[in-house]
Structure formats: structure tokens, C-alpha cells
């Protein structure tokens, strides 16, 4: 009965795979290889395939459009809240301006100056420089005052860094020099003497 069932299984499998490649298979393969115009039968088949594909695309569009719209709305809702969370632009000038109010600007060394252009090396007129420096100092002082008012807390004491004290390394002389190493002479070994072994019974007959 097992053999019968195996036959039935074979028959079922063959029935499932009992299909031949569609017509003009060779021509279609060769046309794809050579890039030649597709035969009429193949054109019909590809038209059917594209129709199926377009139906599939339509389905995707129907499903995908609401999702895309929902995603756009969600992003539009989230975006302003994120902008609100972002910190506002600070009115106080940067710390650099507070820390270094008295820095004098350096005249930039341009490439032209490096080539000996005297006009480029000329510093700005003294009245302009002085005015600019005054403006910078005033801005720094205003900023310091504003920040102190805004914080309402006393300024922290200036940090002091104590100097590092490194103990001096002293060299201590060695109290006693190391004892000198000596190699004692080895006594001569005693001469080795060998006693002849007694002859074995087999060797005895050959003894002269």
C-alpha cells in the first residue's frame, strides 16, 4: 500500500508541475539578449503583466496616500513644539567679551602684507581704533552688569591654584662598598682507576 501511495504522490507532483513554458520562449529570451523588438505574443503578455502591476500600484497608492497624509500632519504638529523647546537667543554677549574686555585688536596679517604691500600693513587711524575699543569695553561692562542683575547671586570667589611643591630628591651615599667577589680554585680531581671485570663463563675458554 505504501508503494501505491508513493505512486499517488508522484502522480500528484507531476500533475502540479505539468506545465510547459509559454509559447515563443526561445524567441523572447533571444530578444531580451539581443535587445531586439519583442514579438507580438510577448508584447501581449508584457501588457497583461504591466496591467497587473498597475493594479498593484493603484492598491499601494490607495493604502499609501492616507499614511503619507497622516505622517505629514504629525510632522507639522511636532515641528512647532520642537521650535518652542529650543532655547531663545541669548541677549547677553558671549563670555569671551566679558573675560577679555581690554584686548586690543591686532592688525590682520594678510597675504598681501606678507608680499610687502605697505598699504595693507597700515593700521587703522588712531581715532577709529580708540572708538572701537571704547565701544567694546562699554559693551563688556553692560553685559557684566546685566548678567549680575539677572542672576541675583553673588559672584563666586576667584579660583586660586596653589603652587605645586615637589620635594627635592636627595642622593644618599652608600655606607659600605660591596664586598669583592672571589672565586676559589677547585681542587684537582682524583685520578680515576678502572678495575678489569672478571671474564664471563663464555669468554673463559678463549682465555690464553
Amino acid at each position: 500500500m505504501s508503494a501505491d501511495l508513493d505512486r499517488e504522490i508522484d502522480g500528484a507532483v507531476r500533475a502540479m508541475l505539468d506545465a510547459e513554458p509559454p509559447a515563443a520562449f526561445r524567441a523572447r529570451v533571444l530578444s531580451r539578449i539581443e535587445g531586439a523588438p519583442v514579438p507580438v505574443a510577448s508584447a501581449v503578455a508584457s501588457a497583461v503583466a504591466s496591467a497587473v502591476a498597475s493594479a498593484f500600484r493603484r492598491k499601494l497608492l490607495v493604502l499609501g496616500t492616507p499614511i503619507a497624509i497622516a505622517a505629514t500632519i504629525l510632522i507639522a504638529m511636532l515641528l512647532p513644539s520642537r521650535q518652542r523647546v529650543a532655547p531663545p537667543a541669548s541677549s547677553a554677549p558671549p563670555l569671551v567679551a566679558q573675560a577679555k574686555p581690554a584686548l586690543t585688536p591686532q592688525a590682520p596679517v594678510t597675504t598681501a602684507a606678507a608680499f610687502g604691500n605697505h598699504a595693507a600693513r597700515t593700521p587703522p587711524p588712531p581715532d577709529r581704533r580708540a572708538r572701537r575699543e571704547e565701544q567694546r569695553i562699554a559693551a563688556a561692562m553692560d553685559a557684566t552688569a546685566e548678567s549680575a542683575e539677572a542672576a541675583g547671586v553673588p559672584r563666586p570667589p576667584a579660583l586660586t591654584i596653589p603652587e605645586l611643591s615637589v620635594p627635592l630628591i636627595r642622593t644618599v651615599p652608600v655606607a659600605a662598598p660591596p664586598a669583592q667577589l672571589g672565586v676559589a680554585a677547585i681542587a684537582e680531581p682524583a685520578p680515576i682507576t678502572f678495575d678489569p671485570l672478571p671474564l664471563s663463563p663464555r669468554e673463559r675458554p678463549y682465555q690464553e
Binding site: 500500500m1 505504501s2 501505491d4 501511495l5 508513493d6 499517488e8 504522490i9 508522484d10 502522480g11 500528484a12 507532483v13 507531476r14 500533475a15 502540479m16 508541475l17 505539468d18 506545465a19 510547459e20 513554458p21 509559454p22 520562449f25 526561445r26 523572447r28 529570451v29 533571444l30 531580451r32 539578449i33 539581443e34 503583466a49 498593484f56 492598491k59 499601494l60 493604502l63
Partner: protein, 200 residues
């Protein structure tokens, strides 16, 4: 080296001509192997339309890679390996999965193409020739685990030797035989559970 490899490859002469640029020779190779290639693709994807597409792709790829073919294996085995790789890619493709998921039920198209292949005969004459037991077996074959089903379909189709199947599935011949035997065993058990008590 197997006995199949020791024999002279009947396609070799055509392969050499095709390598030299003779497309008609390649056309002859297509004609000789189209059935085996198509059946292998059908066993993997379960749809005649997709199998046709996969078979065409396999031949086109084979032609493009023909210069890399050194004749270490038979041309047919090499071609079937390409076909199987293409078919498995198609079986796993996201597009195919989407098509199955998006396609609404009741349009005359079943979800699994292999179930479509298993459902019914193609003509009334064929229906008369198909026994009741075979009609019961087809959906069970389609529902087998893929590893067992692939081996069974390829082995029983009669178009491929065990050596070729081993090369296609990248498994030893012994494993192919074991899978075929295991598939038969599973089918016997299922038939027995369905009430066919004397099938063991």
C-alpha cells in the same frame, strides 16, 4: 567526481560557440534546457507566470555570465543553479510578499501561489484522470515545509537528477534523498490522520 560529470557534456560544443558570440547556438541551448529550467522555477515559485519570468531571467543571466563558465560542471547543472537562485530570490522578494498581502481575498486568486498550483486540474479531461487521492494530496504537498517540498517536487518531476538537485539546493545528494523520503513520510502521516488508514 560523479558519473554525470565524467560523461561529456552534450551542451559543451554549443556553449563554446555561444561564448564566441553565436546567439543562435545559445538559442539552441535555450531550446534544449527550457523545460528543465521552467519546471525548476515552477517548483520554487508555484506560479506559471512567475516561473516563465524567472526562467527568462535565468537564461539572460546565463548568457551574460557565459564567459565565466569554465566547464567544471555540466552547463545544465550550472544553468539550473542560476535558475534556482533567481527563483528563491523571487520567492523571497518583498514585492511578491506585498502583492500577496495587499491583494484582497475573493478575486479568484489564492494567497499562496503553491496552493493555486495545487488546486484542481487544468482541464476536465485531466480532472477525470486525477484520482481522489491525488486531489487530497496536492494541498498537503503544497503545505509541506519548503525544504521538504522543494526536494520532493524537483526529484519527482523527473526533469532533474539527484546530483543536479544537490547542486541546485547546495546540499549533498544524501540529504536530498533524505528530504524526499521525509516528505513522503510526512504525507503518509497526514493522509493517515485524514482517515486513509491503509496508506502507511
Amino acid at each position: 567526481m560523479t558519473a554525470a560529470e565524467l560523461t561529456v557534456d552534450p551542451d559543451l560544443e554549443l556553449v563554446r560557440r555561444a561564448q564566441a558570440g553565436d546567439t543562435q547556438a545559445f538559442g539552441e541551448l535555450v531550446e534544449r534546457n527550457r523545460r528543465a529550467v521552467f519546471r525548476a522555477a515552477l517548483a520554487a515559485v508555484g506560479s506559471v507566470t512567475e516561473a516563465d519570468d524567472v526562467a527568462q531571467e535565468a537564461f539572460v543571466t546565463a548568457f551574460q555570465k557565459l564567459h565565466g563558465f569554465r566547464g567544471e560542471a555540466a552547463f545544465r547543472t550550472w544553468l539550473l543553479s542560476i535558475t534556482w537562485r533567481k527563483a528563491i530570490d523571487r520567492r523571497k522578494s518583498v514585492t511578491r510578499w506585498l502583492q500577496r498581502v495587499v491583494a484582497p481575498a475573493g478575486e479568484g486568486e489564492e494567497r499562496d501561489p503553491m496552493q493555486t498550483l495545487a488546486s484542481g486540474a487544468r482541464s476536465p479531461e485531466e480532472d477525470l484522470l486525477t484520482s481522489d487521492l491525488q486531489r487530497q494530496l496536492k494541498p498537503l504537498i503544497a503545505a509541506l515545509p519548503k525544504k521538504l517540498r522543494d526536494a520532493l517536487l524537483l526529484a519527482v518531476s523527473g526533469d532533474h537528477s539527484y546530483e543536479e538537485i544537490g547542486q541546485m539546493l547546495k546540499i549533498p545528494v544524501g540529504t536530498v534523498k533524505w528530504r524526499v523520503s521525509e516528505a513522503r513520510k510526512v504525507l503518509r502521516q497526514k493522509m493517515s490522520a485524514m482517515g486513509y488508514s491503509n496508506v502507511r
